[in-house]
């Protein structure tokens, strides 16, 4: 399609990036993998981040923790590896239900070059086969927000067993209810067998081989895509399953790979698709004609802009993303009508200048920016809610649209008293 955004020149600026690091992904990954524990090897800052990012929303008991590096670890007075072995042994003794342990690298552990890959090998030998120990980096110097999930899933790929079977692998951590819906649709269409990465429990770990094809449910899985490809699997390129259109295109691409006619997909999805369109239409009455600005955050920005512009009638002013994977995002960019600025990376002060100049009806941004923008009279949508809420596939399409409609409805409801002209605090 020549009308899309694929050839739009990308605005790249470098400056302060107001984004989470990859450790944040642990907050949903530890809920998804119920027999896994995530042990961050890092500083007090890492522990504080996890607590703060999670604490704003949940205060449940975690299956994650931080091994906090202390002065003596850095000064070489203690052997960091021995310390780590001791903490892991203590943890696993306390938690016999843990079958997978992820050692998660952080900024300080990477700067001091603590070799967590070797530590994971050593600990796997010691605690295996009951416990599998893997490692990945969630550090801010290596990863941005959702890239933490990408790094985690990529770290699991080399450990997957081999299979010659022709199969579909659905990749990305979805809420169980959504994953079940997807599996049900695929089964009705006639796609079998289907496995998921990550699996909910270690005994359901999928195998992989040259006859494995995989579909991504999340747009931020670039490294996982590369690891699966190296392992011999083949990617089914498609738009992502957000909204009625995205869900249908995603399923049709998979069906085609399995030699199933698109008519079969249409027949299976007719009812859920009609429900989704009806639910989207309800939210679209609020969203139609409204201008939206995406700050870079979760890498969901491009697929969501496609959904909001094509199915909800919104107009995108700027679509910012922390990273633009042309391979993964290409089919999405093809569908977005030319017009919006596409930006990669960030200089937050310059980007906020653009927000203030454009005065969009809705700005999608991180938690650090939301209230300050609201105080300037600009409606916002917290980006983090988009990765914490079930938003994929048909039954959630209306909820996804409603997430964007709610701040606008709220602004309308509070119009008389919204303190959007708060005097400067200074």
């Amino acid at each position: 399609m020549s009308t899309g955004c694929r050839d739009t020149p990308v605005l790249k600026q470098r400056g302060q990036r107001e984004v989470f690091c990859g450790l944040t992904g642990i907050i949903w990954l530890h809920r998804k993998m119920q027999d896994a524990f995530f042990l961050v090897v890092g500083s007090r800052t890492c522990a504080h981040l996890l607590q703060s990012a999670a604490g704003v929303m949940i205060f449940a008991e975690p299956r994650f923790g931080t091994a906090i590096l202390e002065e003596k670890d850095l000064a070489g007075m203690a052997d960091a590896n021995e310390e780590l072995d001791r903490e892991v042994a203590r943890l696993l003794a306390r938690r016999p239900d843990i079958k997978q342990l992820f050692l998660v690298g952080s900024c300080p552990s990477e700067v001091i070059k603590l070799d967590l890959a070797r530590a994971a090998e050593r600990l796997s030998e010691f605690h295996g086969p009951n416990v599998r120990v893997l490692n990945f980096s969630g550090s801010g110097i290596e990863t941005t927000f959702t890239q933490g999930e990408d790094a985690c899933l990529a770290s699991m790929v080399p450990a997957l067993p081999a299979t010659p079977e022709k199969q579909l692998l659905v990749v990305g951590a979805l809420p169980d209810v959504v994953e079940d819906q997807a599996l049900d649709l695929l089964a009705q269409i006639g796609v079998t067998p289907v496995r998921c990465l990550p699996s909910r429990r270690v005994q359901d770990t999928p195998a992989i081989g040259p006859n494995t094809v995989f579909a991504l449910t999340q747009p931020f899985l670039g490294d996982t895509h590369a690891a699966l490809t190296r392992a011999g699997a083949r990617h089914i390129s498609a738009p992502f399953p957000f909204g009625a259109e995205g869900s249908t295109l995603w399923l049709k691409a998979i069906a085609a790979e399995f030699g199933i006619a698109p008519e079969k997909v249409d027949q299976v999805v007719a009812a859920p698709r009609a429900r989704a369109e009806k639910a989207i239409a309800a939210a679209a009455t609020t969203l139609r004609g409204k201008r939206i600005f995406f700050m870079p955050d979760s890498q969901l920005e491009i697929p969501l802009a496609r959904f909001l512009t094509r199915e909800c009638g919104m107009e995108a002013v700027e679509i910012g993303t922390p990273y633009l994977h042309t391979d993964l995002h290409g089919p999405e960019l093809d569908l977005i009508a030319a017009g919006p600025v596409i930006s990669e990376g960030q200089d937050v002060d310059l980007q906020l200048d653009r927000v203030r100049e454009a005065r969009p009806d809705l700005t999608v941004c991180g938690l650090g920016l939301a209230n300050p923008l609201e105080a300037e009279g600009l409606a916002t949508k917290w980006a983090i809610e988009l990765v914490f809420t079930p938003v994929h596939f048909y039954e959630q399409a209306g909820d996804l649209a409603a997430l964007f409609a709610r701040p606008l409805r709220r602004h309308a409801a509070l119009k008389r008293q919204h303190p959007n002209r708060l005097e400067a605090a200074e």
């Binding site: 906090i68 202390e70 300080p108 801010g140």
Partner: protein, 527 residues
């Protein structure tokens, strides 16, 4: 290396940010990797601030490490100065930047910025958030404040309030009002609300009021030494402490103006007969040292509670807290390990916890009511209403807040009498709290319950194999009739009754617990 699940304090640079964010006209440049900007949300979400914290981050990434991170830092300083035009610039490194040793202070000095530069050394691998507050404010005073002529009228500075402080906003308002009633003007309240220009005028005050030793004791001591300003030692939390604080103010200021106490209702509320049921309620206190020490005295002397345990997470206050605990006949618990606090609370089996948001969570798991008295803060600790902890109104707030989680006096009696009523049964919880019935048996080990829910880290003392009672030796069993009788005891004392009975059986060398054992234990432990 130390395993942490939840932490009481953030890293020191977050403390420095609390100082910077409270102030106006100051900008901070933090040398920090991408991701450390999460700290902004503490202020914009938890405290609902309507502005971004005045902090620029260098947000370096891996590709910058091989290149020029110090250049990145200098650019950030230059850009921050040009964009925000601050009266002073504060520079610091977060934990990762500390490792790459770029020396932000040295770099900023070479830049000839036209404003004062306050350089911080924050040892991230040794110290924590409160140290960061205290150190940042000390360095700000050292760079900006100078000795100068005193104001003609008696004035003081208020030291200690910061952004993200536990009720700092309202404490400052309350204490400012009290000072004004005594004819004492506030020269500067800092760091929160002050600009670098205000800090420069701190020397005009006759003395300082130190509200939060955690965040400003070093600055208060520096002002005493360099500016000749004595500072107050009493923390005005509770009726008695507020009166002692007023006496201290009179001595420092010479003020003889009367102070009207009539709006302080707490002493009569505590003395009135409705409060009789509070007598001897066993409370466990945990939080920052200052709030715990103040709350312990209020709990014992103004509420009639029995303090059965106390501790703090900030080692800086360990010494005075240990001394006070000794006075109470207790050993202080000094730890920042949440699991250790949970174990101590489980062992003490208090009827109420006065703690932080962490202890509120512990209380939820153990089925023990909890009121929050200290940071770390949560969005709920920033109420829209006026709700100080200090001064006369603070005393009123303490009374209300501490009594609220409890089952009220007459209700407690009715629950004893009509415990089989299908609507008014004891597991329905305090009737003024909607919707949340506590766990069925608070005596059951929380770790097990939480593990059933899908996970927590059980304390070492609670092996999962013994669902009924973690401390119960194998050779003691509860007879069915005794178990049934125990269930008739209201939930808020059941855990304690179970523990006391088991302890009693153990001491007496009994192997079976019967109904008689239960009541003998009750008589034995009667107070």
């Amino acid at each position: 290396m130390k395993l942490a699940v939840w932490t009481y304090e953030g890293p020191p640079h977050v403390g420095a940010m609390r100082v910077a964010t409270g102030m106006t006209g100051l900008h901070m440049v933090l040398h920090a990797p991408q991701g450390d900007t999460y700290a902004d949300l503490l202020f914009t979400m938890i405290e609902r601030r309507n502005h971004r914290p005045p902090v620029s981050y260098t947000t370096f990434q891996a590709r910058d490490l091989g290149a020029d991170t110090s250049g990145l830092f200098k650019t950030a300083c230059k850009d921050a100065h040009a964009r925000f035009q601050p009266q002073a610039l504060m520079v610091a490194a977060s934990c990762t930047a500390e490792l790459i040793q770029d020396d932000p202070g040295g770099l900023a000095e070479t830049m000839d910025l036209p404003v004062p530069v306050i350089a911080l050394e924050l040892p991230s691998y040794q110290r924590k958030e409160n140290f960061g507050c205290d150190e940042a404010f000390l360095q700000i005073c050292r760079v900006l404040a100078k000795p100068m002529a005193r104001t003609e009228r008696v004035t003081c500075n208020i030291l200690g309030p910061t952004a993200l402080g536990f009720r700092h906003r309202d404490d400052v308002a309350e204490i400012t009002g009290l000072l004004s009633e005594m004819g004492i003007e506030v020269n500067v309240a800092a760091p929160m609300g002050a600009s670098p220009a205000d800090i420069a005028l701190m020397g005009r005050a006759h003395f300082n009021v130190l509200l939060y030793p955690e965040t400003a004791e070093s600055a208060a001591r520096w002002c005493e030494k360099e500016l000749g300003q004595p500072f107050t030692k009493t923390i005005p939390i509770g009726a008695n402490a507020t009166r002692a604080f007023i006496d201290e103010l009179r001595a420092l200021s010479g003020s003889t103006m009367p102070v009207d106490e009539t709006r302080m209702r707490q002493p009569w509320w505590a003395a009135s007969v409705d409060s009789t049921y509070l007598t001897g309620k066993r409370v466990f206190l945990f939080g920052d040292g200052t709030h715990v020490m103040a709350a312990a005295k209020v709990a014992r002397d103004e509420m009639g509670f029995e303090v059965c345990g106390m501790g703090c997470y900030n080692r800086e206050q360990a010494r005075p807290l240990r001394a006070l605990a000794k006075e109470f006949g207790l050993d202080a618990l000094i730890t920042d390990d949440y699991l250790e606090v949970e174990r101590a609370i489980e062992d003490a089996a208090p009827e109420m916890i006065l703690g932080t948001q962490m202890e509120r969570h512990i209380g939820k798991r153990l089925g023990i009511p909890c009121a929050v008295i200290s940071a770390p803060v949560h969005v709920q600790d920033f109420p829209a209403r006026y709700s100080p902890q200090m001064g006369f109104e603070g005393a009123n707030v303490l009374f209300d807040t501490w009594v609220h989680p409890l089952v009220m006096g007459l209700e407690e009696h009715l629950l004893h009498m009509f415990r089989d009523d299908f609507e008014f049964h004891d597991e329905a919880g305090p009737s003024h709290h909607g919707g949340h019935a506590p766990r069925n048996d608070p005596g059951a080990p929380a770790a097990h319950a939480a593990a059933d829910e899908g996970g927590s880290m059980p304390p070492l003392s609670a092996p999962l194999a013994q669902p009924d009672s973690p401390s119960l030796p194998d050779n003691i069993i509860w007879l069915n009739c005794a178990e049934r009788e125990l269930k008739k005891i209201p939930f808020f004392v059941r855990g304690k009754a179970r523990r006391n009975t088991e302890k009693f059986a153990l001491e007496k060398g009994l192997h079976e617990i019967s109904v008689d054992t239960l009541y003998e234990a009750k008589a034995h432990y009667a107070r």
